[in-house]
Every structure is written in C-alpha cells, then in structure tokens.
C-alpha cells in the first residue's frame, strides 16, 4: 500500500490521500479532518536576497520559493560545505511541494541550515528530503521552522547512512496551524552514529509534531536523542520517537529523552517514546517528563531580586539551552540561541 501523505494528496488533488487520526502514526496530527479542500497550486516564486547572521559564513544559499521539483545538493568526497537552504511559502491560500536530495560522499562534511519560512497565511506545504551519507561522511542538519500561524506544513526526511557515517540533527520550531517534521533514519551500526535533537516552543493555537524513527540494522550503532518543548496558551506539542533495534544489531547503544514544560492549563503535550528491541546485549533507555517550572527555583531567583517574569524566562531558556548546546557548528549554535531568546521573549 502506498502510504497516504500530504504530498500525494497535493499531487493527485485527492483529499482521501491525507493521513488521518485513524493512522496510528498520525493520531495526534490529523490532516484529513482539518483540510476541507485542497488549495490550488502555488504560482512559481522567485528567490530574493537574504541577509541573516550566517550570511557571511555560508558557502551557498538556495531559496526554494513556493516549492519546485527535485533539486540536488551533492558534496564531493573530502569536501567541506556550509549551506543554507530556505523553503519558503509565499502565496496565501495555495499549496506547494519541494524535494531535496542530499548526497554526502565519502569523507565529506556538510553543515546544512534548513529553514521553513511562511511568508503568507493559510498555505499547504510538503517538503521531502532524501539524505545519503557515505562511509566517513558526516552531516549536521539544523532546521529553523518558522511557519505562519495559519500554515499547514509537513517535512519528511529519509536518511540513509553507510557504516562509519555520522548524522546529527537539531530541529527548532515555533509550530504552525498544523506541522509535522518527521525524520526516518536507516542506521547500519558499524561505526555509524546518529544524534536527533529538537526544540519546540509553541504559543497561541500552534501545533508541532516531531516524529523520528531510527532503525538499527547492524552491530554497535549509537543513537542519542534529546527533544525539549515549551508549550503555552492553547498550543499542542507532539513527540513520537521510535527506535527499532533489529535482530542481529547487537551492542546497539540508543538513548532517547523528551522533556516538556507546560506553561498553561490549556496547552497540551502528547508523547510516545518507543523502543522495539529484537537484538541482544543492547543498551537502550528512554526518559520522558512533562511538567511545570520548578516553583522553588522560581522563588530562589525572586529572592535574589528577579521579578516573576524574568525568573520564569531565565529558567525556561536554561531548560531549552541544554539542547541548543549540543549543536556542533558554533555559528549555527549562536543563531539557534538567539532564535530561542527571540521566541521566549528573553532577547536583550
């Protein structure tokens, strides 16, 4: 059966292709019940110049406006690249799709800053990213998802690693009307390593779904995951993390953590961490906590002079900071830190 996806619905114009809450993996991110009609295709867009704190450092920036077909990003053996890729939805009330194929050759290194930018309300966008990393190649992927409050956005990445390859990812999102960022990793073990991190900071009625599936198929693979979320108002965060350790993938070391702060009575977080283990002698663990800020820490900070709002913002930023600190690329880490401050309103 061909899986139902937003992409196939956009391509065929068939609403019945949309995933619905009856699909187990989509139960918290229902599209079928939300989308009453498929909007017309977005007109062809034109990229515009872009300045951001990384502009001076990036080797190359590509803007994909209102979607387009398949584009390639190849990093040749031994090369090191720092690339920005912006997916922009610029026309309200339209739908678009884009595909990016990334090929990191043996011994090559890629840092990819990927952004989803909503520049118009009420769009539908689907981005498919296909990533292949050869032996000794490494990639760090940092996603800034800044969709419109009324946008509907799905991004799905399929990542295939060769033995000895490494893949690290950090997603930073402020959500959308409905948003899903999914990452599926085929992990061969044998010296390959994976880090999958995420931060969701949601307000108003925004929704973000961070879904990951890592399938360990070979010996001695490592995976580490840390996702943190902060939800307020009537926002909703979803975390689905599945780690599969197949028969024979012995000595796998996989660790997954998801921790969320709920800062309002009407906000919601749904989490489903899953470890499916069919191998022997593995080290797998997951931790999942959902709670509020520590009231005694708030009092401690207030006793030292911080007003309530300052204390809460400081503690919230520190909570998320643990994930941001794991970003390896220094310039990207600084931008991520600034992004978090801006979202939390703690920027000075």
């Amino acid at each position: 059966m061909v899986p139902m996806t937003l992409a196939s619905a956009i391509a065929t114009g068939d609403l019945a292709q949309l995933p619905s809450r009856r699909d187990e993996d989509w139960r918290w991110t229902d599209l079928r019940g939300l989308i009453r009609a498929l909007p017309p295709a977005s007109p062809q867009g034109r990229a515009w110049l872009w300045e951001n704190p990384l502009s001076g450092q990036l080797d190359m920036t590509v803007g994909t406006v209102n979607g387009r077909g398949h584009t390639d990003l190849d990093v040749a053996a031994g090369d090191e690249r720092f690339v920005g890729w912006r997916f922009m939805s610029a026309t309200p009330g339209t739908s678009n799709q884009a595909e990016l194929w990334v090929d990191v050759a043996a011994g090559a290194k890629l840092t990819l800053i990927e952004s989803y930018e909503g520049r118009g309300a009420g769009y539908l966008t689907d981005v498919a990213v296909n990533i292949k990393i050869a032996d000794g190649g490494s990639m760090e992927r940092i996603i800034f998802a800044e969709d419109d409050a009324e946008g509907i956005s799905v991004s799905t990445a399929d990542v295939t690693l060769a033995p000895g390859a490494s893949f690290a990812q950090t997603i930073l999102t402020s959500g959308a009307r409905r948003q899903r960022i999914e990452t599926r990793v085929t992990h061969p073990g044998q010296g390959a390593s994976v880090r999958l991190d995420g931060v969701y900071l949601l307000r108003d009625q925004r929704h973000a779904d961070l879904t990951t599936v890592v399938t360990h198929g070979g010996l001695e693979g490592t995976t580490t995951q840390l996702t943190k979320g902060v939800v307020r108002d009537q926002a909703r965060g979803v975390f689905q993390g599945r780690i599969v350790v197949e028969r024979g993938a012995d000595q796998t070391d996989a660790r997954m953590g998801h921790h969320a702060l709920i800062l309002s009575d009407r906000a919601e977080v749904d989490a489903k961490p899953e470890l499916l283990i069919f191998a022997d002698d593995v080290q797998c663990a997951h931790g999942n906590t959902i709670g509020a800020l520590d009231e005694s820490a708030i009092f401690y900070a207030r006793q030292r002079g911080m007003p309530q709002a300052v204390a809460r913002a400081m503690l919230t930023e520190a909570f998320v900071g643990e994930v941001v600190d794991r970003i390896e690329h220094e310039g990207a880490r600084d931008v991520a830190r600034a992004w978090v401050s801006a979202q939390l309103g703690t920027a000075t």
């Binding site: 520590d294 009231e295 005694s296 820490a297 009092f299 401690y300 900070a301 207030r302 006793q303 030292r304 002079g305 911080m306 007003p307 309530q308 300052v310 204390a311 400081m314 503690l315 930023e317 520190a318 909570f319 900071g321 643990e322």
Partner: protein, 252 residues
C-alpha cells in the same frame, strides 16, 4: 525610632499547620542577632516568611523593614529593598551559570531601585575580587549554579551572592552547616566584612562555634514558633552546655 527589622506578634502557617505562633523580635541597624532553637522550631520558616516564599501564609502580626510593611511586597521587591536570605538548602539551577544568575539578579534589583545596569567589565572585576576573597575558583562561576557542588561549596556560593548583591538585611540560615573549619573562617570573614552601621543580620545556627567568628549583639531562642528567651552572647554558651530542654517545656 523603630528598629530596622521589626516583627510583632507574627503568626504564620505552612500547609495550614500553624508554625509561627506570636513571634516578636526587633533587630536595629548595625546589629547582629543570632537565633538558635531546636529542630522544627520554625527558624527556617521565619526566614521564608520574611522573604515571601509561596506556601508560607501570614495569618497575623506584622513585619517591617525601615518602617515599611514587608508583607505588602513581592519577594523580588523585598530583595530590591535589601532583604537577603542565605538558604539552608541552596537550590541547583542547571543551565544558568552562577555569573549569569547573579548579574540578572543584580540588574533586576538595580532596575527596581531606578539605578543603571552594571556594565559587564565592572561586574566581572567585582566578581573576580569577591570570588578571590572567598577562595572560590572563578571557573566554578561559569558552570550551572550550584549544580553538582558539595554542601559546603553551595554555602560559600550563597555568601558570594550576598557579597555581590550587597543587601542591607541578611538572614543566614545555618550557613555554617556543611562547612569545613577553613571554610567556616573564610565565610565568617566574608560576613564580617559586610557588617556596618547601615546593615543588620539574623544569624540562624545550631552551633555556638559560628558565633565565635560572627559575634552577635543578641542571642534569641526560638522554640514552638516564638522567641522564648533573649540574652547576650553568653546565652549561646549556656545553650551549648544545657540544651533546649527548659525552653521546649516553656513552649509546650
């Protein structure tokens, strides 16, 4: 003239349980008063009530700082007026370096008082000096506040914060517990350096030894939620020798 800190017939509950039951105490500016008393007497509760910890409810009486009603102010407003509590059990704040925490607190206090923020170089210079005086490794100030610190290191960090924030009324809740002999002297020197005619202190302790270093003007016994005896420094020696037996009976 009223004392700098003046507490009259204070009643307070914690989780609906009455803990302070008519406590009266005056601490004039320039003086150091010690509070001693059995476990569970309400000493830490007094510190929390004076600094406004949520869950500690004032059910009667009053407390003023420089004649101003403390209970009308939020915890951070009391802090900006100069109230400082050195916690019996300081908290760990992961992800917030001590320097960031203290600078945020100091600037918040300054803002509340209508003063300018402290410039970063001036702040760092001050931090280096005060850390050196308290024999705190400056690198420790760049790590998450108190995270993984030993009990004694946390107490030293409390005194460092106090030295940086320069409060006017200091409450030290068992600052001596967990300190080794050298640390006790270093911390006491830090506290004594802050003694001045414009400041006052409440020093809560179980051990007379601390009072050899920080010499009190008055010593009070808190038992059963009240001050049941007051005297000069000799009262601490007497308690050390005789224990609290007779005061526990008085309170009951």
């Amino acid at each position: 003239m009223t004392a700098m800190l003046s507490i009259t017939n204070l009643h307070a509950t914690v989780g609906d349980k009455p803990i302070l039951k008519g406590l009266t105490l005056d601490v004039p500016a320039g003086e150091v008063h010690a509070i001693m008393g059995p476990n569970g007497a309400g000493k830490s509760t007094l510190g929390y009530v004076l600094t406004g910890r949520p869950g500690y409810e004032v059910t009667g009486g009053s407390a003023t700082l420089d004649g101003q009603d403390l209970f009308a102010l939020a915890p951070d407003e009391r802090s900006a007026k100069g109230m400082f509590l050195s916690f019996q059990y300081p908290l760990e704040i992961p992800g917030v370096p001590a320097l960031t925490f203290i600078r945020t607190a100091l600037n918040a206090q300054r803002k509340a008082r209508g003063e300018d923020e402290i410039a970063a170089p001036a702040f760092l210079k001050m931090a280096r000096e005060k850390a050196a005086a308290l024999k705190i490794d400056f690198e420790m100030l760049k790590r998450g506040l108190n995270v993984g610190f030993s009990g004694g290191e946390k107490k030293r960090m409390e005194i460092f914060q106090m030295a940086m924030l320069e409060p006017r009324f200091l409450i030290l809740d068992e600052t001596d517990s967990g300190l080794d002999i050298d640390a006790l002297r270093i911390v006491s020197d830090g506290v004594n350096a802050m003694r001045s005619a414009e400041r006052a202190m409440l020093v809560i302790t179980h051990y007379q030894r601390l009072l050899d270093y920080i010499k009190p003007d008055r010593v009070h016994v808190l038992s059963g939620g009240k001050i049941v005896a007051s005297g000069g420094p000799e009262l601490a020696h007497q308690l050390e020798a005789e224990g609290y037996d007779k005061y526990v009976q008085v309170a009951a």
